[in-house]
């Protein structure tokens, strides 16, 4: 009797476990955050998600941004084995969304109306929303306060005049004022000031409706760059081929240069550098506060052929919750894409925050799909062309950019 009871109990338990397994949905999620180098609080957040959603098991795969281009498209194209939820950026949203591979999340989603207007305007150009934003990335100016103090510069420069003044003082003190690599740093300052001073919208320039050659904002931006060269802010020919991902970062973190326009994602690694007393400010430019150059970092998208749409939506809703998103942003030093949401930037980014609060924000046009992907390379090449022959003026560069836009059509 006792033996048969035990058998019955074992059978019931096994049956029950099977039922529980059958009710659990496995969600295939891919992302380029969440590894050891860039954890972005993902392990903690996934643990929390599992405890709040015991019926969903997230199978999380880290796939680097570069590998995402190679690994995900065949899975999407095949249609039989796509990830349910994918981390995407705007170029991926454009390519995969236009091809019908991403589900429309709807402008009636509860989080959509909460997105900051600058980002929201770019998310649904055709009325369909393919991405739920996670992070806005700040592109600003890293300033070494100790080097500035040595040269007698009291405040990090916000305007071009202040920057020119700081460059002169730093140069006189034998300190290298700033790095201006054609890729990233130089492109950031020229594009931010060009767009800020332009009378047309960036997407008009990117669609060919307006021309770079005729744009007064960009002409002024190049004139400003020439003024920086004249003030010995940097040696232009040295910057034309400077590596922004290696050499530039090493030079700034080693304390060899006073200023470096770069992305806020470097805050984490600069913080680990001993004796580096620095702040992150807006890019010096036409606005009194400087210009905050924001860009869409990344977000979540759901595959249009997912079999677990409801579970995928719950996963997205979890990350739309400000408490959870705040943890992610804090770990990744990112800005909140929602109005009034907590920022992940530390105190040292106060200068950048001020420019954002004052509304002096320019969205980085390539990563917002305002400019076509051909402009990514075109921008770097154009700035390098100018740095190599700045005395020739910007006309050739502006024509080159018009051609790059035409190449995308």
């Amino acid at each position: 009797m006792r033996k048969s009871s035990l058998v019955s109990l074992a059978v019931s338990l096994a049956f029950g476990a099977n039922l529980a397994m059958a009710d659990t949905v496995t969600l295939d999620v891919t992302a380029w955050k969440g590894n050891k180098a860039e954890p972005a609080a993902m392990p903690e957040l996934l643990e929390k998600f599992h405890s709040e959603n015991p019926d969903i098991k997230v199978e999380f795969s880290y796939i680097s941004r570069g590998d995402t281009d190679v690994v995900i498209p065949p899975r999407l194209q095949g249609g039989s084995n796509p990830p349910d939820v994918m981390m995407v950026d705007m170029p991926l949203v454009k390519t995969w969304g236009e091809a019908g591979m991403l589900a429309d999340l709807g402008t009636d989603s509860p989080w959509f109306s909460q997105i900051t207007p600058q980002v929201r305007d770019s998310l649904a150009p055709t009325g369909e929303v393919f991405v739920q934003p996670l992070e806005i990335v700040g592109l600003g100016n890293f300033v070494n306060l100790d080097l500035l103090a040595k040269a007698g510069v009291e405040q990090p420069p916000k305007t071009i005049d202040q920057l020119i003044d700081a460059c002169k003082k730093l140069d006189a003190a034998g300190i290298s004022p700033m790095l201006f690599s054609s890729e990233l740093s130089g492109s950031m300052i020229i594009a931010a000031n060009g767009i800020y001073g332009s009378e047309v919208m960036p997407w008009d320039l990117g669609s060919g409706e307006a021309s770079f050659s005729d744009d007064e904002g960009f002409k002024k931006s190049f004139a400003m760059t020439q003024a920086l060269i004249d003030a010995k802010c940097f040696e232009p020919k040295l910057q034309a081929g400077l590596d922004p991902w290696g050499t530039s970062l090493t030079e700034f973190s080693s304390g060899n240069v006073a200023m470096l326009p770069q992305g806020a994602w470097n805050i984490g690694s600069f913080d680990k550098q001993e004796n580096l007393n620095y702040v992150f400010t807006a890019l010096p430019g036409g606005a009194e506060t400087g210009i905050a150059l924001d860009t869409f970092g990344m977000g979540w998208a759901i595959s249009s052929s997912t079999k677990h749409k409801e579970a995928a939506q719950r996963f997205l809703a979890f990350f739309a919750d400000q408490e959870n998103l705040g943890e992610f942003l804090k770990a990744d030093s990112g800005y909140n894409p929602y109005v009034g949401g907590p920022s992940g930037l530390p105190e040292l980014a106060q200068g950048y925050d001020e420019a954002r609060s004052a509304g002096n924000i320019v969205m980085w046009p390539v990563f917002m799909n305002h400019w076509p992907a051909t402009m990514n390379q075109g921008l770097n090449d154009g700035v390098a062309m100018f740095l190599l022959n700045s005395s020739d003026g910007p006309e050739e560069v502006l024509e080159y950019w018009d051609e790059a836009v035409e190449d995308s059509m």
Partner: protein, 289 residues
């Protein structure tokens, strides 16, 4: 008759592999080159638009020019150096094996590692090369090697040559090993100096090794993208952008799979044409030796 049929039967597995892994992808690339395929979704037919774009833009001719320049410099210098080291090591049997292994080692290293190491050497800020020039009192020769369009391509070719000189040397050494000792002995008995034996005996008999080295190096360098990609990303202002790098940028930077396919078809035609005539010339030269 039966035996003859069996021979054909045995070629079938190899033919299947060739068709599936070589011919079919080429056919697919040609087909894709006439579309606007973006890696996912539907591929729309665009006719010759991609090819029109290639032939109406200077940048692709510039990229082809960079590829040819890169190839010419590397093939010439790498083979001359390889031949020099092989000729020296042939005369020094005591250190031949060790030196051959040492020279060959860089070619087994990853392009990524080599690229970053050389980028550090060329760095305008305390880079190794500029530091050596400074130590030697040659400050006037210091420059931002990878940042200056007039030196960037040469700087990258130097890294490539450093990597593959040992590879060329190994092929030349194999050629030296095939030269009959009797011929060398006859040369010595006739009173030929070491240089005369090299110039009039060894060099002509090395013709097959020269053909292999030149053809392999030409194919490898005309489609190179690794070192330019790692060391300069094609910059400054396109000075080191090879055609392969252009293809890479179109594929993964802009998701223009159709256009990148048309560029790769153009590159294949160029490489096949160059190598065909080069091979014909070198084979004819071998026969005249």
């Amino acid at each position: 008759m039966k035996n003859k049929n069996s021979i054909y039967l045995f070629t079938i597995p190899a033919l299947i592999v060739m068709v599936v892994f070589f011919l079919y992808p080429i056919f697919l690339s040609i087909q894709m080159s006439f579309t606007d395929f973006k890696g996912v979704g539907v591929a729309n037919d665009v006719g010759f638009k991609n090819y029109e774009r290639i032939f109406s833009r200077d940048r692709y001719f510039d990229a082809l020019g960079v590829s040819f320049s890169f190839s010419f410099i590397v093939v010439t210098v790498q083979n001359l150096l390889g031949l020099f080291f092989a000729a020296v090591l042939y005369r020094l049997p005591a250190i031949r094996n060790f030196s051959r292994a040492a020279l060959f080692t860089p070619s087994m290293m990853s392009f990524v590692v080599v690229g970053y190491v050389w980028q550090f050497i060329y760095s305008p800020f305390n880079g190794g090369l500029n530091a050596i020039l400074s130590t030697l009192g040659l400050e006037m020769l210091q420059r931002p090697w990878l940042n200056d369009p007039s030196t960037a391509l040469f700087a990258i070719t130097a890294a490539h040559i450093w990597m593959f000189t040992g590879y060329s040397c190994a092929i030349f050494l194999a050629g030296f090993a095939n030269i009959s000792k009797d011929i060398q002995e006859a040369g010595r008995l006739d009173g030929a100096s070491s240089w005369q034996r090299f110039r009039f005996l060894e060099l002509p008999l090395l013709a097959p090794s020269i053909t292999i080295n030149i053809v392999l190096a030409t194919i490898g360098t005309l489609k190179t993208f690794e070192l330019p990609f790692i060391m300069t990303g094609g910059g400054p202002a396109g000075a080191t952008r090879t055609l392969s790098l252009e293809i890479m940028n179109n594929l993964f930077g802009q998701y223009k799979f159709g256009f990148a396919s048309s560029l790769s078809i153009v590159m294949s035609v160029v490489i096949v044409t160059v190598v065909f005539f080069m091979n014909r010339f070198l084979r004819a030269r071998e026969n005249n030796v």
